[in-house]
């Protein structure tokens, strides 16, 4: 039997093992899970020949055996990772909600914020209505796996005209202990008309531990709503992080997302956006800072369906040592999407000869009156600038750090929440080469 088949079986048996967890679930959900698992059974794990996975080897994932972690306890620090971050806090350990460590606090009237399992119980109809609507699990193996095995994530519903005063921080701690574990957080974010919310998804795990985390978030942003969305990924550099953000925006809405990738051995950040109404503003920013043999792939697909929408993506990578990056982005402009203003940029800084990047931003345009651009650059530190700085007395490592920081700070500076910006700045400085 091939390794790919064996790995598939691992996940199939994970599904069987979890059957007792599902016994109390409503029939529709059990059916959805079964359908997704069947579909996964048909698709199997992505093959090396799959276009979308060509540059990302999942061999280490295939070779790993991932069980289910029973523990929802964590020895990691009891704070919420950020310093002085006044937020509604939800904590998940090994994919399970940890109510004691969470501190949701007071929310504005009508806002629903809870963990997935609880939402299924309390708001079953709403979950049924939204779950799987954006995430195309029939097409993507890991999305199918997530749908079948969907464990605890968050469920957030912000009613019309409601402003959530403080940001929401969802912290996933993976601390599997001896056996490598897999978790499949499934998140639903529903922001109704003219509502406003800031949300942070944070992923951490102790250095040196191996685990697989496959979170999926479905973001439903209604007309004139505003969402600031952050992902800070600081997983163990031996972990695997295969995540997906699905997004649907209604007219006049604003969605700003910032994805920071510092951790994991293999990271895959999928982004699938559907701009359905007019006058949407969609900003997607990303920064990946890699070293060792870390790999980060961004796979993005934005569909402009309605006219007068803006989507701007800026992704930057800093790649040290033998790390590698992939950026595959596609903006698809439907014939109906006149006056689209789309810009997709990917810039990479390679710090060594062994670091590599494959960058392929693409446009597919079927409307005739649009402003769409894309661009990719990959370069090394500017030698002239290095010499200039050193000639003013900065030591070589200081000069390098300053230039790398200048390249990346473009993205850290866009963070609107101080505690988050301080943290990503700290993570960035920590990773700047010292020699």
């Amino acid at each position: 039997m091939s390794q790919l088949m064996e790995a598939k079986d691992t996940f199939l048996s994970l599904f069987d093992e979890a059957s007792s967890d599902r016994s109390g679930e409503p029939g529709w959900l059990r059916q959805l899970r079964q359908n997704a698992m069947d579909r996964f059974g048909e698709m199997g794990l992505p093959k090396a020949t799959d276009e979308a996975w060509r540059e990302t080897s999942i061999k280490p994932i295939v070779e790993g055996t991932f069980g289910r972690s029973s523990s929802s306890e964590s020895a990691l620090a009891s704070d919420y990772y950020y310093k002085g971050f006044d937020a509604h806090q939800l904590v998940f350990v090994n994919g399970r909600f940890n109510a004691e460590r969470s501190n949701i606090g007071d929310l504005p009237a009508g806002v629903k914020l809870t963990n997935f399992a609880d939402a299924v119980t309390k708001y079953g109809e709403m979950v049924q209505d939204y779950l799987g609507r954006l995430c195309d699990w029939k097409e993507r193996s890991f999305a199918a796996l997530n749908t079948a095995l969907a464990g605890d994530g968050y469920f957030l519903h912000v009613p019309k005209n409601t402003v959530v005063d403080r940001p929401i921080n969802v912290l996933w701690i993976s601390e599997p202990g001896d056996q490598a574990a897999a978790s499949f957080a499934r998140n639903i974010l529903i922001v109704e008309e003219s509502a406003d919310v800031k949300l942070v998804e944070t992923h951490i795990g102790p250095q040196g531990t191996t685990y697989l985390t496959c979170p999926v978030t479905e973001n439903f942003v209604s007309a004139n709503a505003n969402v600031d969305h952050y992902v800070v990924q600081d997983d163990s550099t031996k972990a695997f992080h295969i995540g997906e953000q699905c997004l649907e925006q209604g007219r006049d809405s604003r969605f700003r997302s910032h994805t920071f990738t510092f951790g994991a051995s293999i990271t895959r950040n999928g982004v699938f956006g559907y701009l359905r109404g007019e006058n949407i503003d969609s900003i997607l920013n990303g920064l990946y800072v890699l070293r060792g043999k870390q790999h980060c792939a961004t796979f993005m697909q934005m569909e402009h369906i309605a006219p007068h929408c803006d989507s701007h993506e800026l992704y930057k990578g800093v790649l040290d040592e033998e790390s590698s990056g992939v950026f595959r982005g596609r903006i698809f402009v439907h014939q109906t999407a006149q006056k689209t203003d789309a810009k997709q940029t990917n810039q990479n800084l390679l710090l060594t000869d062994k670091a590599q990047v494959m960058s392929k931003p693409q446009l597919e345009i079927y409307a005739d009156d649009v402003k769409c651009t894309h661009g990719a650059t990959t370069g090394q530190l500017d030698r002239e600038a290095l010499f200039y700085l050193r000639s003013r007395g900065l030591r070589k490592n200081e000069a390098r750090a300053l230039l790398i920081h200048a390249f990346a700070s473009d993205l850290t500076e866009r963070v609107q929440i101080d505690a988050i910006r301080d943290k990503v700045e700290e993570l960035l400085w920590e990773r700047l080469p010292r020699s």
Partner: protein
Amino acid sequence: MIEIKNLHASVEEKEILRGINLTIKPGEVHAIMGPNGSGKSTLASVIAGREDFEVTDGSINYFGEDLTEMEPDERAHAGVFLAFQYPVEIPGVSNTYFLRQAVNAMREARGEDELDAKSFLDMVKKRAAEVHMNPDLLKRQVNFGFSGGEKKKNEIFQMAVLDPKLAVLDETDSGLDIDALKVVADGVNALRNENRMILVITHYQRLLEYIVPDFVHVLVDGRIVKSGGKELALELEKEGYAELEAQTANA
């Protein structure tokens, strides 16, 4: 004191400097003139320690130390300053932050404490006023989007802040209108003192009316072919380099 002896330097196997001899003592201002491509910037780069250039022969003795053995930052710590012919734009780094790093790196190398933010800003503002630099430029990113004149003023300003023992000014006058030229020249003259050594590299005799040198050297084809007092600049202005070039070609 800096003593350059029989200095040969190459870039990509091509010999550019072919036996330079030049000694500058504290308090002196020397000017180097010479045609395009004669090696003026190469000499400046070799003094400052640019890695592209390889010193193949000769020596540079700087206050008893072999300058060629030092890293560019170590040279800066030892008081060497180069005003670049083409100052480098560094987007994403603020001028103030950069200068503060530079000042503190120098202080650290001298075993002094870091300057706190307030003392640093006070000092910087004073120096900016001395060289008539618009303090707004401090907030901008290093040289980014600066006009040609602003870039050159920024170099002089950095020189004023870093207070070097040896300042090499590579065509700091080129491309400046007369007002900017005066600002640059005034800045340099204000910094002129009995301890500082200044090497002015220029194409144009005009600068030397404002910064009056003690010595003028003519660099042609990687060698100093003629040295003299400030009157040599006038001579060159009249006669051009053509004759000197012809002489070296025959030599």
